[in-house]
């Protein structure tokens, strides 16, 4: 993974000249503003604080984990939300993800980690998750997660699965069916529809495993 090679470049960030320039400019302004030094690590920490909270969760195996530390840090990952008793969008998305996992093969669990988080932690106990996960034939590297309702709600908002309109946001039948994907150490993040073609979802997730690949589509 890139994080290994990145470490040796930590000393090469633009932080030092940035800070120097900030000081010079700050002195020119009315109020001498001194800006904190920005580094690769501080940018990464900012993302963590805003969007990748280190909340305690429980896996389908009953294992207690921390969202950032254990599931996201230094990894290429995908997230989606579902609930077991959902008969609208979830079955389509989850069936797609099952195909995606097959397409990505043994990269899942080694180079890529898939996470499905419940929208109804009150109902989706560890047992329900385990059963539900088996239903989709999920293999290693695809983890189903629950947690305290407040934490799950916090997480849902932090990683961008909410609507601007609170009325729609409360309606779980309209819940967001996207699959968010990213590479945490490289700070690459985007999302695709969970109802897209599984081949293309798999391809999009693979960009996070191999971000340095090119692509052309003949016409």
């Amino acid at each position: 993974m890139p994080d290994v090679s990145r470490r040796k470049f930590l000393g090469l960030t633009a932080a030092a000249p940035l800070a120097a320039m900030a000081l010079a400019k700050g002195a020119a302004a009315e109020t001498a503003k001194v800006w904190p030094t920005v580094t690769e690590e501080s940018a990464r920490r900012r993302l963590q604080q805003l969007n990748l909270p280190n909340l305690p969760l429980v896996t389908h195996e009953g294992k207690r984990v921390l969202f950032y530390d254990d599931l996201v840090k230094d990894k290429a990952v995908s997230f989606n939300f579902f609930f077991a008793n959902c008969d609208e969008v979830c079955p389509l998305v989850m069936a797609n993800l099952a195909r995606v996992q097959k397409l990505l093969g043994n990269q899942v669990g080694r180079k890529f980690f898939m996470y499905s988080l419940t929208l109804k932690p009150e109902e989706d106990t560890v047992e329900v998750l385990r059963h539900h996960r088996a239903m989709y034939g999920a293999g290693p590297g695809w983890t189903f997660l629950t947690g305290k309702p407040d934490d799950m709600e916090k997480l849902r908002r932090a990683i961008g699965f909410s609507y601007p309109d609170p009325a729609i946001d409360k309606d779980k039948t309209q819940h967001i069916g996207n699959v968010r994907y990213g590479n945490e150490p490289l700070m690459y993040w985007s999302a695709c529809p969970g109802m897209a073609h599984p081949n293309f979802i798999a391809e999009s997730l693979a960009w996070m495993i191999h971000p340095d690949q090119s692509r052309v589509q003949a016409s």
């Binding site: 960030t13 909410s162 601007p164 069916g177 073609h197 293309f200 052309v216």
Partner: protein, 663 residues
């Protein structure tokens, strides 16, 4: 002076509270403390459910303690990240910056190179690291007119760089830009291109690769550079699905030829299809919003024997570049603590900034002579719409004044005759060319002011008589800022003053054409041809997923096949209730035939377009003629956040088209 994200003035105390609230929220999240029980344990919540009077804990809670309402359950509206649009007090503003102290940067013209090494080849030079989908089409049509190595060559290298030019009140920023050999910059250098003079650009990706210095928090160093509005062959169009990482390049062939040259107007094309103000930007699928926000955009101005760039010849429009100035508008957000440019990576709806930049500088000024200027105004988004007014007498005795000016081009294509306007509205990726006559403002100060009210990524906040009724389904927002009780247009002087014009008092000679004399430019191409097919595109949202006809972007699927050299009608319909989608179609321009079956009346709807604003509850009928080139192109929403979340479809031009009416 302190402001929240909506530009509302707030007191210094309130501003500090907002900063504190943001910081507290981050700490609470880091600590996993967001439930009422947690807050209670921390002694922050009283038994009666009130947040203790610890000022600054939550802007929302602050408002509620003021009105004696209990705070809602933990989490609601106080979480970080996205979709805070309903809660203006909840998002801290960017750091304060002084307005109108930096001059407007005049973007330098792109520098040509005498040769490229290795020499460009008709087939992609894969061995040398080139990534291109197909051989150049133009030399195959006519290798004399379009030699594989044309006389005009550019080498644009995309690089990361730092600049302190955005504002003297902010620290240096890390951006991505284009280097034509004179150093990386953003906006990228402006192309000065001419019809009849084909050119080739080698677009080199030298952004930080995955083993190098960081991207400062957003941006994907994998690119595909699209030339927006160009009548270009598909292999050189900059397709979102053809992208390449650092260390690779793509040679893009720009024939600079009029539509119809290889079909109904051979050999020179239809002069009525002349283009003038194009722009280039990164189009990498799923990452376009971040990469353009980070700086990968620039202008491409195209001239001919009428639109010559000289006020002595042709249409005698103000001379380029002295009095013909491209203006790139965008809005951005800066972290209040670090002063660094930030981008909300976890947003699905659209992103608004609270700092307004022109040509890369926050609220610059421009010293002008008391004469006519042509401005080419471009909105690069990500999601904001603007309605530009020319406002005078700001801060003087009496009220601010609204001054008319002339619209001469829509999406950069000259309209048949100038139209005097009080304002023009543009959305992401749209352009307008305008002429402002400063001669009667000698010695005075004027502002380009955006008076459009927009609260979130949905589009303009309210409607005016030209638009269909807008649903306002806001609930919790209504007490704070309700789209229903806000006018579409703010009063003069109460909007966003974006660019200041200091008009010199010294009289000068002006040879340029006076738009008030009603000069004629190009006539509109006929739209009477019977369409081979009428296709319908429903823009919608399915469980949060932006869709076209219920389907999603897929790089491996052409949704329909257009027949080469045929006419089509496209019906764009908007089922998303209260969202405006600026819909862009590559390859060919279109004309708007009607909106909800009524012929368009708004001046910016009357010309040729490559982006059409699709308002809530609208059905817009477009006329197209697809000529000359073959291959793949997209249709997509140009609210780049929607675009990046799959509101796009690929189609292609082939000798024999299909009959898919709802692709």
């Amino acid at each position: 002076m302190y402001f929240n994200v909506f530009g509302e003035k707030v007191s210094r105390r309130r501003y500090k509270e907002m900063c504190e609230a943001a910081k507290n929220r981050r700490e609470l999240i880091a600590a996993g403390l967001t439930s009422r029980r947690d807050l209670f344990k921390m002694g922050l919540l009283t038994a009666s459910g009130m947040l203790v009077a610890k000022s600054g804990l939550s802007a929302r809670a602050y408002g509620q303690t003021q009105t004696n309402n209990p705070p809602s359950s933990g989490g609601t509206n106080t979480s970080p990240g996205t979709n805070q649009n309903c809660v203006p007090g909840n998002q801290t503003a960017s750091p304060p910056t002084r307005a109108f102290i930096s001059p407007l940067p005049i973007i330098p013209l792109a520098r040509t190179v005498s040769a490229l090494s290795p020499t460009p080849t008709e087939n992609p030079n894969t061995a040398a690291g080139e990534v291109r989908a197909a051989p150049f089409q133009a030399p195959q049509i006519d290798s004399t007119r379009f030699p594989v190595v044309p006389a005009t060559l550019y080498k644009f290298t995309q690089k990361q760089f730092t600049t302190s030019g955005m504002s003297p009140d902010l620290p240096a920023q890390t951006l991505w830009g284009f280097d034509d050999g004179t150093g990386p910059r953003s906006p990228g250098p402006t192309y000065q291109a001419f019809y009849g003079r084909p050119q080739l650009t080698r677009n080199v990706n030298a952004l930080p690769n995955i083993n190098q210095v960081n991207n400062t928090g957003f941006g994907m160093p994998s690119v595909s550079t699209h030339l927006h509005n160009a009548h270009n062959p598909s292999e050189s169009d900059g397709n979102p699905c053809d992208f390449y990482p650092a260390g690779h390049f793509c040679d893009q062939y720009y024939p600079n030829v009029l539509a119809g040259f290889n079909s109904d107007h051979a050999p020179n094309g239809d002069i009525s299809e002349s283009l003038s103000t194009l722009w280039y930007h990164d189009h990498r699928i799923d990452f376009t919003s971040q990469n353009t926000y980070k700086g990968l955009a620039g202008f491409y101005c195209l001239f001919n024997q009428f639109d010559t760039g000289s006020d002595q010849t042709g249409f005698r429009l103000p001379s380029f570049p002295q009095h013909d100035i491209p203006l790139m508008f965008n809005d951005k957000v800066f972290d209040p603590t670090t002063g660094q440019l930030v981008f909300d990576l976890f947003n699905l709806d659209g992103i608004l900034g609270d700092k307004f930049l022109v040509n890369g500088v926050i609220q610059p000024f421009l010293n002008v002579e008391p004469r006519r200027y042509r401005f080419r105004m471009l909105d690069t988004g990500p999601s904001r719409f603007y309605e530009f007014f020319l406002t005078g007498n700001v801060g003087g005795a009496g009220s601010p004044t609204t001054n008319p000016y002339f619209l001469i081009g829509t999406d950069g294509n000259l309209i048949p005759n100038p139209i005097q306007v009080q304002s023009v509205r543009i959305g992401p990726a749209e352009r307008v060319d305008v002429i402002i006559d400063f001669s009667k403002f000698a010695g005075k100060t004027l502002y380009l002011e955006n008076r459009l009210n927009q609260l979130n990524g949905q589009g303009p906040a309210a409607v005016d008589s030209q638009l269909a009724p807008q649903n306002s389904s806001t609930t919790e927002c209504s007490g704070v800022l309700n789209s229903a009780n806000q006018g579409a247009i703010k009063p003069a002087g109460a909007g966003d003053l974006i660019l200041k014009f200091n008009v010199s008092g010294t009289a000068c000679i002006d040879n340029s054409v006076d738009p008030a004399t009603n000069p004629s430019f190009y006539q509109l191409p006929s739209t009477t041809a019977t369409p081979r097919i009428v296709r319908t595109f429903k823009f919608d949202r399915l469980n949060g997923q932006w869709s076209i006809n219920g389907q999603f972007m897929d790089c491996n699927q052409f949704r329909f096949a257009v027949q080469q050299n045929s006419a089509e009608h496209w019906l764009l319909t908007n089922l998303t209730g209260d969202w405006t989608h600026p819909v862009h179609i590559h390859l060919e321009e279109h004309q708007i035939m009607n909106r909800n079956r009524v012929a368009p009346t708004v001046p910016t709807d009357l010309g040729r377009k490559d982006v059409t604003q699709l308002h809530p509850n609208e059905r817009v009928e477009l006329f197209f003629r697809f000529r000359d080139w073959l291959g793949k192109y997209p249709i997509h929403c140009h609210n780049v956040v929607h675009e990046d979340h799959a509101m796009m479809a690929l189609w292609h031009v082939v000798p024999q088209g299909d009959n898919v009416a709802v692709p």
